[in-house]
């Protein structure tokens, strides 16, 4: 249900009878999500009571109280916004570069063969491992973090894009050749539309990854952001703040993912179609 709700919702809203359908889907979604989350909260409450040390393992209610506090005094908003800004900027730049490079690499087999060993190797050194180098190169400010997001996003989108180009079925290309299409026409009118789905998938995966990476980067070197906040909370032995940070991360991540999916379907819906 989870991965299908958003596109179903979007298409439901598109049709005239859609509003009631959309509402029903929403209701169904709430039930599907609501019940297990309620159970999860209930179990959490039990566990924290059983643990007995509220300073180490706060109950949901205590966490909620702290959550409300940091929302009210604006610190949560500030940290969340800082992290999100880094993610969004890095994500957009990285996706563009990754898609372009991926299309290039995918189209020319020799380029792919040349870059293959590097990709195979860099797969294991992704993300956080680069933070040290980027700090050495770009200092301790915003740039090093944004560059990190650019790098990890570019990597993920690139891999998926290359796979997408490779997956264009031969007959699609051959048909275009029959009509006398030039290489440019084939690229823009066949390869690119075929690969769009893969690029968007790569972007979606990279978005999720970006959250992972930014938090680590902020834990290593930052003075603001959710990662920094979580780290600071640990140093002050405030697990309720840690939980708040984690929950915010989860919610933001989920929201970004859903929004990205919705935007993909609305803008590029036709490129997801199969025959």
């Amino acid at each position: 249900m989870s991965t299908h709700t958003a596109p179903a919702l979007a298409s439901a809203m598109a049709s005239p009878r859609g509003v009631s359908r959309a509402l029903r889907l929403l209701g169904g979604g709430l039930l599907t999500y609501g019940l297990p989350i309620a159970t999860f909260l209930f179990l959490w409450e039990l566990w924290s009571d059983a643990y007995g040390v509220p300073q180490l393992f706060p109950s949901p209610r205590a966490t909620a109280r702290t959550f409300w506090q940091i929302v009210a005094d604006g610190t949560l908003l500030h940290d969340a916004a800082t992290s999100m800004l880094r993610i969004v900027v890095g994500f957009l730049i990285g996706s563009a570069i990754g898609a372009l490079l991926g299309l290039l690499i995918g189209t020319f087999r020799i380029v792919r063969e040349m870059l293959d060993p590097y990709v195979n190797f860099l797969r294991f050194v992704s993300g956080v491992a680069w933070i040290s180098i980027f700090i050495v190169w770009f200092g301790i400010g915003e740039i090093s973090k944004v560059v990190l997001i650019v790098y990890t996003t570019c990597f993920g989108v690139l891999l998926n894009t290359v796979a997408g180009v490779a997956a264009v079925s031969r007959n699609k290309l051959r048909l275009a050749q029959c009509f006398g299409a030039s290489a440019t026409q084939i690229f823009f009118w066949v390869t690119l539309p075929s690969t769009t789905r893969y690029i968007l998938t790569g972007m979606r995966l990279s978005m999720a990854n970006a959250f992972l990476v930014i938090v680590a980067a902020e834990m290593v070197q930052a003075d603001s952001g959710l990662g920094f906040a979580i780290m600071a909370a640990r140093q002050f032995l405030a697990p309720d703040l840690i939980f708040c940070g984690m929950i915010t991360l989860g919610v933001l991540g989920l929201l970004s993912d859903r929004m990205l999916m919705l935007a993909s379907r609305l803008l590029f819906g036709r490129y997801y179609r199969h025959n």
Partner: protein, 265 residues
């Protein structure tokens, strides 16, 4: 109008590769509906790919109107088996007008023409549907319309109706026959189905079993259209073609068994 002259073909990369086609000769006249029939693995799709220009012959030449072909062209459009040459992100009408778009025909003009040809293949009302929403038979019709709209003098069809159910196949064969009579194009059609061959063809070429195959025999089908599979003439031709083909089918099966044996050895 189409001539295969001493064509030989094997896949590149070394002289240890087997020949797919060897000494392949064939002549097809203007406006002829020509069928190539053969057992599986005999290389009939390769022959089509060579004529389409997707591959180059290793030896010999293929001439269309006395000119050697050098690559794919809009004068020889292919209709593929299955639907993977249709563009799923384009609607039916957008798929049909694709060729015109490549050639730079302006939007209004090509839209009108595409609509006309969609009507010709009986798909009026389905213009805005995507291939994913259409049946197999409809998708093949889109391919036909797509080829016709560019007024291609030669149509290459690679077992186009093999993936469709029997009733739809029957309908499509009938419609293709009518379209061919109306547009007077030349058709190069591949199949493994004898009935289909006799139903549609002016001339049938039966291929040998592979490897290194060539045309074994060509016969003319001298029946008036529309043809009825129930007629005595039909049965007579069927027996003739079957006799020519049967030996080749057996040889193909034997080759397959032998290659399996050597693989597991």
């Amino acid at each position: 109008m189409i001539r295969f002259e001493g064509v030989g073909f094997r896949f590149g990369g070394g002289s240890d590769r087997p020949w797919v086609l060897s000494d392949f000769d064939l002549r097809i006249a203007h406006g002829e509906f020509h069928l190539v029939l053969g057992p599986s693995g005999c290389g009939k799709t390769t022959a089509l790919n060579l004529l389409a220009g997707f591959e180059q012959p290793t030896t010999g030449a293929i001439l269309v109107d006395e000119r050697r072909i050098t690559g794919a062209g809009v004068d020889r459009i292919v209709i593929f088996q299955g639907d993977d040459s249709l563009y799923p992100w384009l609607t039916a009408i957008e798929n049909v007008e694709f060729g015109l778009r490549v050639q730079g025909v302006p939007a209004a003009g090509r839209r009108a023409k595409a609509r006309e040809y969609l009507a010709m293949v009986g798909l009026s009302g389905h213009e805005s549907k995507f291939p994913g929403e259409l049946s197999g038979g409809m998708k093949q019709r889109i391919q036909i319309a797509r080829a016709l709209v560019c007024q291609s003098p030669v149509l290459l069809m690679d077992e186009p109706f093999a993936a469709v159910d029997a009733q739809t196949r029957s309908m499509l064969q009938e419609e293709l026959s009518l379209i061919w009579q109306r547009t007077a194009c030349t058709i190069f059609f591949i199949t493994h189905d004898i009935s289909e061959a006799i139903l549609l063809a002016d001339r049938i070429s039966v291929m040998q079993a592979g490897p290194a195959s060539r045309i074994k025999e060509t016969i003319a089908v001298d029946m008036p259209r529309p043809r009825s599979p129930a007629s005595a003439d039909f049965a007579h031709y069927y027996q003739r073609v079957h006799a020519i083909l049967a030996g080749e089918v057996q040889r193909a099966a034997r080759t397959e068994r032998e290659s399996q044996k050597s693989k597991s050895a």
